[in-house]
Each structure stands twice: as C-alpha cells, then as structure tokens.
Amino acid sequence: MAAPLEDILRQHPVWRGGAPAAFCPVLSTTYPDLDRALPGGGWPTGVLTELLCNHEGIGELTLALPALAALTWAGKRVVWLAPPHLPDAPALAAAGVDLAQLAIVRTVARRDALWAAEQVLRAKSCHAFIAWFPRIAYEELRRLAVAAEGSQAWVAFFRPRQAAAESSPAALRVALEPDGDALAVHIAKRRGAPAAAPLRLRIKRPFHALGRTALPRPADAVARADRRMGLPVHA
C-alpha cells in the first residue's frame, strides 16, 4: 500500500521548490504583503539582510521601524551603526521606538565601523543591528555573516543599489526604489524559490500624517505676511 504523498513529505525533509523555505526564527515586518514574500514570514534573524537603496528619504526606514519598535517595547536592545545623518529622537519616538533600548554608534574610519560591527554581533544582548555601509568588500561581509550566525539578532545592512550586481553572503537582499507615494520592494535574493514581481508597499508618508496639502508656494514676502494669520503657531 503506497503511503500518501503528503505523509512522505511530512516525514522526510524534502524541500519543495514552490514555497519559500523557512530556515530561521523570523521577526514580523508588520507589512502583510512583505511578510508573505519573505521566507518564514518576516525578517530573518542570525543571518545578514541587505537593504539596497541609493539615497535616504525614500521611506527606507519605514520598512524597518515597525519591527524595531516591537523589539524595543519587548525590552530588546537595538544598535544603529554609522547612520548617514543624525537620527531624530522625536521622530523615532513617534514611530513607536522605545529610545531607552536604542544605542547609536558613530564611526569615522571604515575599519572602525567593521570592528564595531563584529563586536556588536558577538554580543548576545543586541537583538537588532542596523548598519550603513556605503563600501564593504565581499570578504568583510563574509566575516560579519559568520559573526551574525552566532547571534540571534536581526542584522540589516543598508548598501547602495549598485551592490545588487555584486555577489554577497547575505541570506536576504531587498532592493528599494521610490514609486510615487509607495515603495517598490524587489526581493533580489532569498532562500528558497526566487521571488516573482516586485512588491508595491503602501508605506506611511509624512504628507498623509499632516492630512492637508500644501498651500501654493508664496510668490513673495508680501504674500507670506498676508497668510500669517491663519497659521498654527508653536511658540
């Protein structure tokens, strides 16, 4: 009597090409569409994730912040290494991040940044590690990938879009592009079956929060003086 196919598949570790493979504990991104596209249903931990985008301000952190906020409120600690600009405290607090759990590390030399990254990955107390590496070589990434295996952290590196053409030891590579009011998310590499078409994620943008459109640009200083009456003044 032949065993039903489903039973065989359950008993033997057979990888099926159709589904993305679950391979490590994951952290929900809080974006259902993105969770579905990621193996295991979220940001993978203990491996490298690369977020590839060319300039800041396209909503690239909006992708990461909900997961980071959830971690910090669970009492987990987060490190940001070599951010390209000054992170603003009120903005992060508004995004739900518990600031007491976040440490910022700024470095000048690239060697220092690599050293610091390894130290953070070796520590057991950091549960999410976000680093910005405009330039990093394959061997350096490889070394950090090995260090990441020993940690249980979500490790995400921001790198330029062009890096997608180079090979990388990252388990997950996600390319980000602005797409009108949304963010085009293309999963360039993941474990398991390759991803199909890019996702168009509707992310929260500041003009939605403000809830009103801009007034026409004042033509001159006189026009500005006229409108002054109607403006909210915070003083």
Binding site: R77, I104, A214, P218
Partner: protein
C-alpha cells in the same frame, strides 16, 4: 605577609594545592617570595626568613634578637636558644626574648590585627626595556591589573574607572579607562585597556607604568545566568558599550532622548546608552527620522507636498527661529522636510 590557612585547607583541597595556587599567583604578579609554614604565626615568619628550615635548625638571625651576644656565647640556632635556661636568658636578653620564643612555640598567645586592604590602589612597574608601542604596554599593565583584582577581591568591591600613567624619560602620559559598570575582573579590565591602548599614540618611549584606581564601588552579588536572562543581557550590553567606547571614544556611542523644544535641532539630546528619560515630547506635525544640518536650496529644487507648520521659538536664547516647515519632494524622489525663513529655503530633514 602572614596568612591563616588552617581554615582554608578543605576549600583548596589540602595544603599542597593551596601552596601551588599561592605560588602561581605570586609569580603572575611578578613577586619573589619564600614560603614558611608553622603552627604559630611567629614560627611561620621565622621559617620563611630561614627559607623553610625546621624551627630548631633555623639560624638565630631570623628571631631578630641580639645576635651578637648570642653568637658570642656559642648559640647559633633557634634549637640551641630553646635549650638555654629560661631565667638566665630573660636576665641577659630581656623578657621579650622569652615572650618571642613562647609565641613561636604556641605557649603564649599572639594576637594580630587582620589586614585591612587600602581604599586606593597605586602600583608602579618598571619596564625591563623601553616600550615604544602602546600595545607592548599591555603585558606589563596586566600584572598590575592582577594586583588590583586581588585588592578589590579582598574588599568585595569593583572599579568604575582606572588610570594608567605612562612615565617617559621626561614627563608622563595619562590613559584614562572608564567602564560601564563596576567590576574587579582582571580579564575584562585588561580587554578594555587593550582597546584603549590600541588607539594611543606614544610620543616618547615608556620606561615605567603606574596603575591608579580609587573610588571603589561595592559590587552587587550576582551569578552568571544563561542566555535570555535579563541580568546577563544588561551586563553583556554594558560591556559592549564600554568596549565600543574604549576604541571609538566616549562621544561616539550614545542614546537619544526627546527634549521639549519646538526647534527641531533642539528637540533631541544625547544621553548615556541605557539611561531612561521619562520625558516625552510629542511633535504637532510629522518629523523626519534623518535630521540634516540646515542647507540652503534653490527655489526650483523641490515640489511642496504638504504644510506649512510654523515654528517660531527661541527668541530667549539668541538662537531665534521663525520658520515655516513644508514636506517636499526632491528631484531624486526622496521626501524632505524644508523650511522657509527670511525668504530663503532650507532643507532640514529626510523622511526615511
């Protein structure tokens, strides 16, 4: 140095093991020594001076009595001294000679004060050769750290900071090391010092080093936990922060807190990592995660999307701001926070 070891024999698994351990740590500290063991403190002291001979066979010099007189009457060993009639000895050398012998034999009690370790540490080490590379100092400094560890262990205390002074032929350099939490672990102190030394550039060769520490803090008793234990994690976190700071500098590692000020550049401040600031400042409008140094841009360089939000504040501290903030799209499709002040446009943040 006198040690009462009777009570510790079981803990160390017998005298031979205790002796081995003692010898090993004395060697690590770089100290020469001669061990003597006896039933009484005085006898042990004499035996250590006489390089471990039997009490009777020890030369009289170890007793500190009037050696000249004793040798003139043909007494050269402690054994011969003990054989002399007590009354005669007391008459010739004074009652303290009899008392010393009685104490050595354990006939008379010898009360001693226990050693109280000092509240500061200061130890100097002359280097065998001049050192020109800061990393080379680590091995010498380790010896001093082991001594510091010993002092702290005796006091059940730890240090938050210590200082290594490098003495040159003329002048000195001071290397300050700060720790995130009090510790007395020589291994950890050494690790942090090593990182600190790795970014120290020596202007002159170093001839000697001095390790100084004061302001000891009591250590909270804790046992190392398994992974996931909050106490273990906060200790591990504190160590990570101090390692990073030792190499990158104190200001390179910080945490953020909000501050009640409408001007964005004053609405946040740096605090110590792990410090908790209960104050919350809710901004009335959207705030960008990336704050830039305000940079002037041309009027054609962006498209306004939303706004304005007026921020008018700071007339009292000389950093007056009267700005209308807008959300704008830059040509590279990123969303920026721009403001207009005195007819000029500036970009002040990026909505990441």
């Amino acid at each position: 140095m006198l040690l009462e070891v009777q009570g510790s024999l079981r803990l160390y698994g017998g005298f031979a093991r205790l002796r081995e351990k003692l010898a090993a740590s004395l060697n690590e500290m770089g100290l020469g020594f001669s061990l003597g063991v006896a039933r009484t403190a005085r006898a042990a002291l004499w035996r250590s001076r006489g390089e471990g001979e039997r009490l009777e066979a020890l030369p009289v010099e170890v007793t500190g009595l009037d050696v000249e007189f004793l040798s003139s009457i043909g007494v050269t060993t402690v054994g011969a001294l003990l054989a002399l009639p007590r009354a005669g000895l007391a008459q010739r050398c004074g009652a303290q000679a009899i008392e010393a012998l009685d104490r050595a034999l354990g006939v008379a009690p010898e009360p001693r004060e226990f050693f109280a370790p000092p509240a500061r540490f200061n130890a100097k080490l002359e280097l065998p050769a001049e050192v020109t590379h800061a990393e080379g100092l680590y091995f010498g400094a380790r010896r001093l750290l082991v001594q510091l560890d010993g002092l702290l262990a005796a006091r059940h205390e730890g240090v938050h900071a210590f200082r290594l002074v490098l003495l040159h032929e003329s002048g000195s350099t001071c290397v300050e090391v700060n720790l995130a939490s009090a510790t007395r672990d020589a291994e950890r102190l050494g690790q942090v010092l090593r990182e600190r030394l790795s970014r120290t550039v020596l202007m002159q060769p170093v001839q000697a080093i001095v390790l100084e520490a004061g302001e000891f803090a009591s250590l909270a008793g804790s046992s190392a936990g398994m992974f996931g234990d909050p106490a273990f994690e906060s200790e591990d976190w504190a160590r990570l922060m101090e390692r990073l700071r030792a190499r990158l500098g104190h200001a390179a590692v910080y945490a953020l807190a909000a501050q009640a000020d409408h001007r964005p550049e004053h609405a946040w401040r740096r605090i110590e990592p792990g410090e908790w600031d209960p104050r919350e400042a809710a901004a009335p409008g959207p705030r960008p995660v990336w704050l830039l140094e305000a940079k002037r841009i041309g009027e054609q360089g962006f498209t306004l999307l939303a706004g304005p939000e007026r921020i008018e504040s700071g007339w009292w501290d000389g950093d007056d701001a009267r700005r209308d903030y807008f959300v704008a799209r830059l040509p590279d499709a990123s969303i920026a926070w721009v403001y207009r002040e005195d007819g000029e446009w500036y970009v002040h943040g990026l909505f990441a």
